[in-house]
């Protein structure tokens, strides 16, 4: 008879790390229909917007889509079906010209030219290239660039055939950004609002993460319940809580159960009181 070891062997690295490079196999498709619609919009060269509250997985969705499009294009030899996704992190760019240079640089073209030449590369894209271009701009509304200028630049890009744009941002800021740029807002085809995860989706995500490190058997059902309760279905919050529980469980040499999750994420009475009053917590 084989005995089940009571004390689990925990790996040294955290499977729930927030900054871990996300692999496609750990991604959970939360709204498959809408993701499909987004991909359809990209292949048609349209403008789409992804919004949702903090930590809901907007950036993860963008990265996932970029990776998937890239792998699909690498596997086909049909040029007209190839889509080249360019991922830009809006917060890193201060000026609209930087966005332009960023796109050219990501495509590994010579970016040491003046902005008119660079812009012409993009506007004459359908004439010179059969492949489609998808500019995925993460945190577009949070960038430091001039809002009017960036809006005008994106509008000009949106008018070019075969160039798709995906904007991603927090709902309030995105609304503000689009309100200031009505021509761009009019060109938007699909808007995806990411919702909170259900318990099963959250469990699937955490289990997938745990599986990459081979620790999926060490987490009990009660722990998933508790993590869902704590995070209210926000993946980032769930990962953070799971990460804390992992540290505690490794220290004590136990499996992750409801009790461990509770103890690892316990907030003192006073801290809760002050959080309720909306004061800043200094721990």
């Amino acid at each position: 008879m084989s005995e089940i070891p009571t004390a689990p062997v925990w790996p040294s690295d955290d499977p729930f790390l927030l900054v871990a490079p996300m692999k496609p196999e750990t991604y959970v498709r939360v709204q498959p229909d809408e993701i499909l619609a987004l991909k359809q919009a990209i292949s048609n060269g349209r403008v789409s917007v992804v919004t949702g509250p903090l930590g809901i997985g907007k950036t993860s969705l963008c990265r996932y889509i970029v990776d998937e499009l890239m792998n699909e294009s690498l596997s086909t030899s049909d040029v007209s079906k190839q889509i080249v996704p360019v991922y830009l992190s809006g917060a890193a760019y201060r000026e609209t010209d930087d966005f332009l240079k960023g796109i050219i640089k990501e495509l590994a073209l010579d970016s040491n030219k003046d902005r008119v030449t660079l812009f012409n590369i993009l506007t004459s894209w359908p004439k010179e290239h059969k492949e489609k271009l998808a500019a995925v701009i993460d945190d577009a509304s949070e960038s430091g660039a001039n809002v009017d200028e960036l809006g005008e630049f994106l509008r000009a890009l949106a008018d070019v055939e075969n160039i798709a744009i995906v904007l991603n941002g927090e709902p309030k800021r995105m609304k503000k950004f689009l309100d200031l740029n009505p021509p761009l807002r009019d060109r938007i085809q699909t808007i995806i609002e990411l919702r909170h995860m259900t318990r099963d989706e959250l469990k699937e995500m955490l289990a997938k993460r745990a599986k990459t490190h081979g620790v999926e058997d060490y987490i009990s059902e009660g722990a998933f319940d508790e993590l869902y309760k704590l995070s209210k279905g926000v993946p980032r919050a769930a990962l953070k809580a799971a990460s804390k529980a992992f540290e505690l469980a490794r220290k004590e040499g136990k499996k992750i159960d409801r009790d461990i999750v509770k103890r690892a994420n316990r907030v003192s009475f006073w801290a809760r009181l002050f959080r309720f009053r909306g004061k800043k917590l200094i721990k």
């Binding site: 496609p24 990776d67 890239m70 792998n71 690498l74 190839q82 495509l107 590994a108 040491n112 290239h129």
Partner: protein, 184 residues
Amino acid sequence: MDEKILSMKEAAKILGCSVRTLQRQHLAGGLRCVFTPGGRRRVPENEILRLKEEMGFGLKTEATKRTLRTKPKKRTVSREEPPIMPVSKEEPKKSEQIPATTTTQALSDFEIIERMAPESLPMRKAFNDLLATAAMLETFTPKQLLERSNYPEQTIKSFCDRLVAKNFASLENDRYTLKVRLFR
């Protein structure tokens, strides 16, 4: 410990200079001071005797001499610039020769990818990303590239093969070492 300790004002009177001068001297390191618990400077008597011997006229101690000496030196350098010029002209020549001897070329990522001749635009983009990762690692295995990116194995393999074929990297025991430096 019977040494007499004077206040700054007294010391200035003996030396025939202002209190401010002494303070400046102290900051420059030319005057050793003691501090009272209240943080005021006091000057030991032997320090005053040393200064008197050392300077004769004015307060040119070793520390101030050092600072004064540097200024005229700078001027002479600027005046003698023409004779120095040939020396500085030679220097860049030497630095130009260095990359040739160590065989590390500096190329922009655009040029490297152009020479690797990717067949398609997605391939080009993949090579660009992989090159950035490779440049960060310097020596790498295909497995490391696979872990750090989400590209298929086949793409990574052709990337590594082409790096070696175009003499941008060397292969030793399954480990690739970049021979080029990227400049941006």
